[in-house]
């Protein structure tokens, strides 16, 4: 798999090198003056993806050449699958249409769902918004001390863990796979949207939950009864996993794994875990142009998004939406996308068997 990634990165670098002189020239004449740029959001107004898009939209026009009119088009349906299918098939590659992708649009592709008739790898990545995530629990209920990881691990293995999630194939698959790697089992309860699961956790009917770091800190940052077990960390520009900057004292999953088993995590389960981590954390949201968009337009948008996200007003609003993780742009985003949307056959085989055995759920 890393070979595939390497090829992709080299390919992208070569392509960038070849097109660079031309890009500067073409970039000079490229203008969207008098045009309307449509920014597709695959969800209803008011959700997280919509909000982030609208925060960015306020400063988008002034940072694009020709100051086009920028509108947000909400196309809800199928957890953004409907909008993504349409975008893949019909969006013009002339810089007048872009999409705000999110984890829920990437997962069906990663898992090879039939309903997803699009491949985000063919899209042109501009910016990825990373958003930290952690797994947390009611400490007393499970018997977590928070001092010694090995003792906590024993407690986790013996506890009656109750964990509410939407479906076996939702973004919490990251948590299922991580726990499976450690032989921790839980009583999973399905049919709970993240807000239902959160409510059940507050009632104490569930004793384990996952959420983005920002929400966790807001709801339980001060609460001594609720503590993180591990975070999923963040990948730095060298491709290494680092601790979540907002949870500096919390071990990442691989750290936890190594501390309690004495081994580094590896094998197909860990490849799966990494892909899911890329899809859920590194590409919590991502701005993309349609497949086939010329490089000079890509450069214009990367530049524009860099400016938009460093605008003081937007920069002040961003932490509320995604926390304080660094953004990724261009090739970095494309790399995360490659990992977050594709599986080697052996990894796919492993996860298919896991889902079948544990949840009686088939991948197709």
């Amino acid at each position: 798999m890393w070979d595939g990634l390497k090829k992709l990165v080299i390919g992208a670098a070569v392509a960038a090198a070849i097109s660079l002189p031309g890009a500067v020239q073409a970039g000079d004449d490229f203008s969207l003056e008098g045009k309307t740029v449509t920014w597709v959001v695959g969800f209803r107004e008011g959700g997280g993806t919509d909000r982030l898009t609208r925060v960015l939209q306020t400063k988008m026009s002034e940072n694009l050449p020709g100051n086009p009119n920028v509108i947000v088009l909400n196309k809800p349906g199928g957890g953004s699958v409907t909008a993504s299918n349409d975008f893949h098939a019909n969006a013009p590659a002339d810089g007048t249409m872009l999409i705000m992708a999110s984890t829920s649009g990437l997962l069906p592709v990663l898992l090879g769902s039939k309903v997803a008739k699009y491949d985000p790898n063919e899209w042109v990545a501009i910016t990825g918004f990373a958003r930290g995530a952690s797994l947390y629990a009611i400490s007393d209920d499970i018997g977590l001390g928070g001092e010694d990881m090995k003792a906590d691990y024993e407690a986790l293995k013996n506890a009656n863990i109750r964990f509410g999630t939407e479906t076996p194939l939702s973004a919490e698959l990251l948590d299922f796979v991580s726990m499976e790697m450690l032989d921790i089992d839980a009583n999973y309860l399905f049919g709970l949207s993240s807000k239902d699961a959160e409510a059940a956790f507050q009632r104490g009917e569930m004793n384990m939950n996952t959420d983005n770091t920002r929400s966790y800190l807001k709801d339980y940052g001060e609460d001594p009864k609720v503590n993180p077990v591990w975070s999923y960390g963040v990948i730095d520009e060298n491709g290494d996993l680092q601790r979540d900057p907002d949870l500096p004292d919390v071990p990442t999953f691989p750290e936890f794994y190594q501390a309690v088993t004495g081994k580094k995590p590896e094998g197909p389960a860990y490849e799966m875990q990494k892909s899911l981590m890329n899809a859920k954390v590194m590409l919590s949201k991502a701005v993309m142009l349609p497949k086939g968009t010329p490089d000079h337009i890509r450069e214009v948008y990367i530049e524009a998004l860099k400016n938009v996200t460093s605008d003081p007003e937007v920069a002040a609003a961003l932490p509320r939406e995604i926390g304080s993780m660094p953004l990724n742009f261009g090739d970095d985003t494309q790399r995360a996308l490659a990992s977050g949307t594709a599986l080697d056959p052996e990894v796919r085989e492993w996860v298919a068997a896991f889902l079948q055995e544990r949840f009686d759920t088939s991948l197709d």
């Binding site: 107004e45 349906g77 199928g78 009917e205 007003e313 759920t361």
Partner: protein, 657 residues
Amino acid sequence: MSEAALSALAQLTSLQTMLALVAGVVTGLVVGILPGLGGTAGLALLLPLVFGMDPNSALAMMIGLLAVTTTSDTFPSVLMGIPGTSGSQATVLDGFPMTKRGEGTRALSIAFVSSLAGGIFGAFVLSFAVFFAKPIILQIGFGEQFMLVILALSMVGILTGANLWKGLASCSLGLLLGALGAAPLSGVQRATFGTEYLLDPLPLVVIGLAMFATPEIVDLLRRQTSISETGKLAPTGWMQGLKDWASNWWLSLRCSMIGSLIGALPGLGGSVVDWIAYGHAVQTTKNRESYGTGDPRGVVAPESANNAKEGGALVPTLLLGIPGSGSMAILLGGLVLIGIEPGKDMIDNNMDKVYLMIWSIAAANIVGAGICFFLAPQIARVTTIRYTLVAPFMIGIIFFAAFQATRNWGDLIALLLLSVLAIYMKRFGWSRPALLIGFVLSERVEASVYQTVTLYGFSFLERPIVLVLVALTLVSIGLAVFFKQSSSEPVTVEGPHSHLRKGPQWIFIIGVIALAAYIFQDGLQFNRLTGLFPMVASISTIIFLAPILFVMLTRNAPSEYFYDAELKNAPEGGRSAEFYIGMLIVMLLFSGLVGFVLGIATFIAIFLWRAANLEWWKAIIGGAGFVLFLGILSNQLTLRYPTGLLQNFVTLPWPLQ
């Protein structure tokens, strides 16, 4: 407490904040009055404005908007029988018959004063609940939610119509329709009929429009010259409405309590509130046979409840940071966007913001109801216009409204197919409210049964609140059995209950069985998380149909089991329902060719010219006017209408695309 309350009142009454509130209210009224639009569309309109606004004003504006969409959505539901939002569906049952009697203004007046009372009550409850409600809300676990759903479902008993079995089968059919599309427990798509549209379940608004709006439009086209049978508005008007409300203040208060309670508790969701209130009214009042024929109490109950719900829904939103209803979820999003975050922190440190919200709800309800009162007599005049002039626009509006559900061609097709179902349900005496309640609750039934049993087995029955709910459910079922409605029609050979000419009824029942069988066999291929619920719903549909089938086969005398409205008084000289269904199909096919906007405009123009006998140029102006209306909305709300095949070759200019 009082200090924070007064400081918040001072903040709200500052000129800038008050203006923002009124602007929010006006926007809310406009989007509420347009069927299919509501809080989400309104928020999209406000977002560009609230950026950079001072937080108090932004908050007042957003609350102002969300608090009144359930007030103005009453206009289309009462005057035209079009339930544009889930909160106005039950209002149609009695509001629209009142309008047909020429009492549109009176019905609106009852609705607005009930909305006002409910809204203020909700704000009142909220102001206390923020202090003590948290432990109560945290008591409502999966077992309690499950029993709440069962209690709500039991209230359907009283709305089953003349024949219990048909009512139960209707309700099962609602559960069955709710089983189409993505399964809530697994996300797997089941019974999609091979369409991408059913990646998600069917949208509630489309079901509501199909069940109530289309059958009425077709009926009115066949029978009447204007919506008001007398062609006039009753002169008593809105004063009479105030009196009606005053003599039912206790019902209004009870329904407000129900509304705010259901809004605050997890488990049921806001969309079923108006039906529960309606069921409660029927269960607890005298002379229940007049419900459904234009009884003022049938307007008081749902309208009181659905405005009270919003205050209730703010309780968990503020206390736990978990939105209590769809519009609260939007509000939460909007508030985060402007840097205000409801939750524990706000209760501890920003009590004046909490009170600002409470005062805003109360003020918005007063301003909103005031404006609606003022407009009611004018807008009610639409019911005196010749119906053939109104009908094509109403058809345009219901398709526009349905399209707002997911903004997909599928919405229009689903509306058409479900409309056909509803037209025949009406003709054959199947309860459409029962279907709707089944549909609204289906996802909750499926999820809460599984969750409760998985987590607790049967030990959930040992919990005290569960036991109380079990008792209430038994009472509710008892009331339904005890006060069974009987048909208003005589059971004779000449009447609709005749045993002769059962053919059409056979075709309908066989169609329902075929649907159930299809969904059953589709369910077979899935695991239990996905397949169990649709299979149970199909089997229960067929079980409830069994007694009807038995009577159909064996009985050779008039019976309440038989019903065909066409045997009663087929309108003379009018066209058949099938003619109008065909007309809608042709309109959609044509739209498929040239796009929705041109398709609907052409339809309106032709209809006005041929059916309403207008001069051709007036008819064209009518069609063009609707295009302009759609064009303005598409600009303001960033909508893209369904395109047609030919639009792949020709790019149309605004507003024709």
